[in-house]
C-alpha cells in the first residue's frame, strides 16, 4: 500500500516538473524585449484607474462558507458510504438525520437570501 503512495508522490513531482521544464525551455527560445508600453497593465486600452487589488465582495465569502459546510459534511459521509453494504437499515436512518440537519441549514441560507448573487 505504501508503494502506491510513493507512486503518487513521484507522479506529483513529475507533473509539476514537466510544465515547469516546458516553460523554461520556451523562456530560452523566446525573445526578451520589454518596454514600458508593452509592460503596462491592461485595462481595455485606457490608463488604469485606482488600485488593482479591488475590494473583495462579501458574497464570495458566503459562498465559500456554505461550500465549506457541505464539503466537510460529505467528507464525513464517505466512511459511511464505504460501510454501506454492511450496515442495517439503522445506518440509513442515521444518514437521513444527518443530511436533514444539514439540508435544513441550506434551506435557512436560501430563505435568508444568502444564496442570491448580488
Amino acid at each position: 500500500m505504501l508503494n502506491e503512495w510513493l507512486y503518487l508522490g513521484i507522479f506529483l513531482i513529475i507533473a509539476l516538473a514537466i510544465p515547469a521544464a516546458a516553460l523554461l525551455i520556451a523562456g530560452m527560445l523566446s525573445p526578451k524585449k520589454p518596454n514600458p508600453i508593452k509592460d503596462s497593465t491592461y485595462e481595455c486600452g485606457m490608463e488604469t484607474v485606482g488600485v488593482s487589488w479591488v475590494q473583495f465582495k462579501v458574497q464570495y465569502y458566503i459562498y465559500g462558507l456554505i461550500f465549506l459546510v457541505f464539503d466537510v459534511e460529505i467528507v464525513l459521509l464517505y466512511p459511511w458510504a464505504v460501510a454501506y453494504n454492511k450496515v442495517a437499515l439503522f445506518g440509513v436512518i442515521e444518514l437521513i438525520l444527518f443530511v436533514a440537519i444539514l439540508a435544513s441549514g441550506l434551506l435557512y441560507a436560501w430563505r435568508k437570501g444568502a444564496l442570491e448573487w448580488v
Binding site: 525573445p31 503596462s40 491592461y42 488604469t48
Partner: protein
C-alpha cells in the same frame, strides 16, 4: 504472460528482470520504474492534448457549419503542432507590478492539477498507475488544486479584471464541487470502496443504469468544473477578455489552454471509470488489452457529448449559474443520495432485475418531481419580457403584415 494480449505488464516485467539482473536493489528498481511510468503518462497526456485540440476544432467547425483547420496537413492534423511551435517562441510579457511567484506558478499548477488525476485511473485490469483505496477523494482534492491556480493567476497579475475574473471563477468552481462530491457517494455506496479499481470491478452492469440522475448531475458538474460552455463565464471571450488569463502570453497562456482541454478529457475519463464501467466489456478476462480499447471508445463518446453541448447551448449568466447549483442541483443530489440509500437497502442484492427496476423508477420519479417543481416555480415567477413587438420603429413600412398586426 503473452505480449500481444497484455503488452504493458509484459514490458514492465521484462524491464524489472533486466534491472534486477544488473544487480540493483529491489526498492531502487521499483522507484525507477515508477519514475519511468510517471514520465511516460505525463508526456503522453500532454502530447495527446494536441490531438484533442485538433479534434475539438474540427468537430466544432462542423457543428458551426464550416470546416475546421484543413491546411496544415491532411485534414489539418499538424495544426496543433504548428500552434505549439508558434507559442513556444512567443515572448513572455511580464507586466509591471506583478507578484512574480504566483504569476509564474499558476500555469504550472493548473497543468499539474490535471495531470495528477491520471495517476489513479485504471486503464485496464492490469494497467493502472496506483491503486490507492481513496481514489475518489484524491480526484476531488486534486481538483481543488486547480482552483488554487486560478486564484494565483488572478491575484498575481496586477489587474482588476483578472482579479474579478478569478473571484468569479473560483466562486463557480467551488460551488459546483458540492453536488459533484455528494453524487459521488452513490458509486461508493454500490461498490463498497472508494478505490477506482474496485469501483470498476464492481460494474458488471455500469452504474449509469443504477443511478441515472446521479450520472447526469455528475456530468453537468464536470462541465461546470472545467469552465466549458455553457458555464464558460470565466473566460467569456466577448465579455471579460480572457478572465484570469488576461496578462499571460506565450507558453504560460499555452499551459492554461492545455490544462483546459486536458481537463475536459480527464473529466470524460473519470466519468467513464465511475459510471460507464471503465475497462469492462466482453472478453476482457482473456485479453486484458481490450480493456484499454473499451475505455478509449467510451471516453471518446463522452468527450464528443461534451463537445456537442459546448457548441450548441448558449452561455449562462453568473446568477443563473449559481441559482442552478445551489437551488436545483444540490437539493437534487441530496435527495438522490437519500432515496437511493433507502431503496437499495430495502431490496436484497440477489434480485438484480428488481433492484435495477426499482432504482430506475425511483430516479425517474425524482427527475419528474424536480421538473414539476421547476415548472410551477417558473409559472409563478415568469421572466419579464422587456422588449416586444410594441417598440417604436423608425421605418414601419418594412414590417411584414403579421408583425404590423401585433405592432398596432
Amino acid at each position: 504472460m503473452n505480449f500481444i494480449y497484455d503488452p504493458v505488464p509484459w514490458v514492465i516485467n521484462w524491464l524489472t528482470q533486466l534491472l534486477l539482473s544488473w544487480g540493483l536493489s529491489e526498492n531502487f528498481v521499483t522507484t525507477l520504474l515508477y519514475l519511468i511510468g510517471a514520465v511516460l503518462i505525463c508526456l503522453g497526456a500532454m502530447l495527446f492534448t494536441t490531438m484533442l485540440i485538433w479534434a475539438e476544432r474540427k468537430i466544432g467547425g462542423r457543428f458551426q457549419d464550416r470546416l475546421g483547420p484543413n491546411r496544415v496537413g491532411p485534414w489539418g492534423i499538424f495544426q496543433s503542432i504548428a500552434d505549439m511551435l508558434k507559442i513556444f517562441t512567443k515572448e513572455y510579457i511580464n507586466p509591471v507590478g506583478i507578484d512574480k511567484i504566483p504569476f509564474n506558478l499558476a500555469p504550472v499548477l493548473a497543468v499539474a492539477a490535471v495531470l495528477a488525476v491520471w495517476a489513479v485511473i485504471p486503464f485496464s485490469q492490469t494497467v493502472f498507475g496506483s491503486n490507492i483505496n481513496v481514489g475518489i477523494l484524491y480526484i476531488i482534492a486534486i481538483g481543488g488544486l486547480g482552483e488554487m491556480a486560478i486564484i494565483l493567476a488572478g491575484f498575481g497579475s496586477n489587474n482588476k479584471y483578472a482579479l474579478l475574473g478569478a473571484f468569479r471563477a473560483v466562486a463557480q468552481l467551488i460551488s459546483y464541487e458540492v453536488p459533484m462530491v455528494i453524487v459521488l457517494l452513490i458509486p461508493v455506496m454500490f461498490s463498497g470502496s472508494m478505490g477506482l479499481n474496485e469501483i470498476v470491478q464492481a460494474q458488471t452492469i455500469p452504474f449509469i443504469v443504477y443511478a441515472p440522475v446521479a450520472c447526469i448531475i455528475f456530468f453537468i458538474c464536470s462541465i461546470a468544473e472545467n469552465g466549458r460552455a455553457p458555464f464558460d463565464l470565466l473566460e467569456a471571450d466577448s465579455e471579460l477578455v480572457a478572465g484570469y488569463n488576461i496578462e499571460y502570453s506565450g507558453l504560460k497562456f499555452g499551459m492554461f489552454f492545455v490544462a483546459d482541454f486536458l481537463h475536459a478529457f480527464t473529466s470524460a475519463i473519470v466519468f467513464t471509470t465511475i459510471f460507464l464501467g471503465g475497462w469492462q466489456g466482453p472478453g476482457v478476462e482473456q485479453i486484458p488489452v481490450l480493456g484499454g480499447a473499451y475505455m478509449l471508445i467510451k471516453t471518446l463518446l463522452v468527450y464528443f457529448l461534451m463537445l456537442a453541448i459546448r457548441f450548441t447551448v448558449p452561455r449562462f449568466r453568473i446568477d443563473q449559474m449559481m441559482a442552478l447549483n445551489w437551488k436545483i442541483l444540490t437539493p437534487l443530489a441530496l435527495v438522490t443520495v437519500v432515496v437511493t440509500a433507502l431503496v437499495d437497502k430495502a431490496i436484497p442484492h440477489e434480485m438484480t432485475v428488481i433492484r435495477i427496476g426499482a432504482l430506475l423508477v425511483v430516479n425517474l420519479i425524482i427527475w419528474l418531481l424536480a421538473d414539476r417543481m421547476i415548472t410551477i416555480y417558473r409559472k409563478r415567477n415568469p421572466v419579464q419580457v422587456v422588449t416586444g413587438k410594441l417598440r417604436p420603429l423608425a421605418r414601419p413600412e418594412f414590417l411584414s403584415v403579421a408583425e404590423k398586426e401585433t405592432a398596432q
